[in-house]
């Protein structure tokens, strides 16, 4: 019986406590830096697309909302011909970001993507690409990958010693 009265009193005291509601459109909630929101495709520090169209994100996606087509440019560098994310399916699980070997696909702290038409939720590559490197400012996949592409020979990547012609080592 006493506990009932005490409960009523404690609930009444809540009238004088601060309300925890965030008045959303006027007052934005704090979103953590690692908040998983709108997906973007980032670029290298030198401005090239990071995505190498390896399809790992599309494979990792549990709802199959990523579609892309790989192609190569004249230097032999792979990039996606088209890259499409259907955000009406996306569950923002972040598996694509984890799967990405080049830090190209990243989730950002932004959730304000409401649309009146479902079609508008399908984002093409132009909508996804951002100008900067996103969460990894200094990273350039092609500068650390040991692959030979046009404009970068073997041994020219970062942390690599110059290529040695083994024939020149003959006694």
């Amino acid at each position: 019986m006493f506990s009932v009265l005490r409960t009523i009193w404690y609930v009444f005291l809540h009238a004088f406590q601060k309300r925890i509601t965030v008045q959303y459109p006027e007052q934005k909630p704090y979103l953590a830096p690692r908040y998983r929101g709108r997906i973007v495709l980032s670029r290298d520090p030198d401005g090239g697309e990071r995505c190498v169209a390896c399809n790992l994100c599309a494979v990792a996606c549990p709802v199959s909302c990523i579609a892309l087509q790989a192609t190569e440019d004249e230097n032999g560098r792979r990039y996606p011909d088209f890259f499409r994310i259907n955000f009406s399916r996306c569950i923002f699980c972040g598996y694509c970001e984890e799967a990405c070997p080049t830090y190209a696909i990243q989730l950002t702290p932004d959730f304000e993507m409401g649309e009146f038409h479902r079609k508008n939720l399908v984002y093409e590559k132009e909508d996804l690409l951002i100008d900067g490197p996103g969460k990894y400012p200094g990273y350039n996949f092609w500068r650390v990958a040991g692959v030979q592409i046009g404009g970068k020979n073997k041994g020219e990547a970062a942390h690599e010693t110059p290529h040695v012609d083994v024939r020149s080592l003959l006694p």
């Binding site: 409960t7 609930v11 009444f12 309300r19 509601t21």
Partner: protein, 316 residues
């Protein structure tokens, strides 16, 4: 003491009662939010006041669907019953000196009779829905309201003994020296609990019990028929709050302010208290409810009645 303008006070009381009941939807949501550290509806209009209008428009636009398996005439009659009985009870409430629809010399008995008739609404709704959850809700309501009515009447008899009258204006006048809540505090507590059970509010909402019975007796109702149960419940809260302030807190009596304002302040205080109870208390089990009613409240009401009678005999 009859009203100088009977039609005016009838219209006034009906309109004010309905308006208060409708706006209670907003008040309840805001107050619950306050006690749960939220804001509640605050977007539609200033302070969200137009929420009531929006809700009313929405519920009027809803499809008024009658389940094909329902017992149609009874199904349609049931929501009207609760509306009529509660509104009839408002007839005997003295809002201010002279403002009363019908000053019956047995006003209190009339109120008790009308609130007893209200149970028909719930039982008929549960029965005619032809749905096991609705029927369970209706049966629970019947058992609950019958058992809580017994000591609801008994808890008020102390007041009647002290005032020497069943007429509500006379009861208010008898409280000039001291509000009846002081000599009749047990009666007040008993009536508060019984009133809660009568209006089927949250600690005693076993007939509705969302977590067990879908929505209880009004599971099958939609549109304005559901709205009538809803508004009927809120009118019931207003009625019980008004009765508490009339019977135990001196109705319109109070210094400085006019009687009507005092009555409204007191009534609103108890409405808020009912909402606070909803915010604070869980729903008891059904057997707990019944045994609490019969084994605790009824003996207490009888003892209270005996003591009040003895006291009046000794000191008067």
């Amino acid at each position: 003491m009859t009203s100088p303008y009977p039609l005016l006070s009838i219209l006034g009381i009906v309109i004010v009662a309905l308006t208060i009941a409708a706006s209670l939807i907003y008040v309840e949501r805001r107050l619950l939010a306050l006690w749960q550290d939220r804001y509640g509806p605050n977007r539609t209009g200033p302070f969200g006041l137009l929420q009531v209008v929006a809700d009313a428009i929405k519920i009027f636009m809803k499809e008024d669907w009658v389940a094909p398996f329902a017992d149609k005439p009874v199904f349609i009659l049931a929501p009207a019953v609760i509306f009529v009985t509660v509104l009839m009870s408002f007839a005997v409430i003295p809002v201010a000196p002279g403002i009363i629809v019908a000053d019956l010399n047995i006003g209190l008995l009339f109120f008790l009779a009308m609130s007893s008739l209200g149970v028909y609404s719930v039982v008929l709704a549960g029965w005619s829905s032809d749905n096991k959850y609705a029927l369970l809700g209706g049966m629970r309501a019947a058992a609950q309201m019958l058992s809580y009515e017994v000591f609801m009447g008994l808890s008020l008899m102390g007041v009647v003994i002290l005032a020497g009258s069943f007429s509500l204006p006379a009861i208010v006048e008898a409280q000039r020296k001291a509000w009846f809540v002081i000599p009749q505090f047990p009666g007040f507590v008993l009536f508060l609990i019984a009133g809660l059970a009568e209006t089927r509010r949250i600690p005693f909402d076993l007939s509705e019990a969302e977590s067990e019975l879908v929505a209880g007796y009004h599971s099958e109702y939609s549109g304005m028929k559901f709205g009538m149960f809803f508004v009927g419940e809120y009118m019931g809260i207003t009625l019980i709050s008004g009765m508490i302030s009339v019977l135990f807190f001196g109705g319109w009596l109070g210094p400085v302010l006019p009687g009507l304002v005092w009555f409204l302040i007191k009534t609103f205080f108890f409405i808020s208290f009912f909402i606070l109870l909803r915010a604070a208390l869980p729903r008891p089990r059904f057997d707990q409810l019944m045994s609490w009613g019969w084994k605790v409240m009824l003996p207490l009401a009888l003892v209270n009645l005996l003591l009040a009678g003895a006291a009046v005999l000794l000191w008067r």
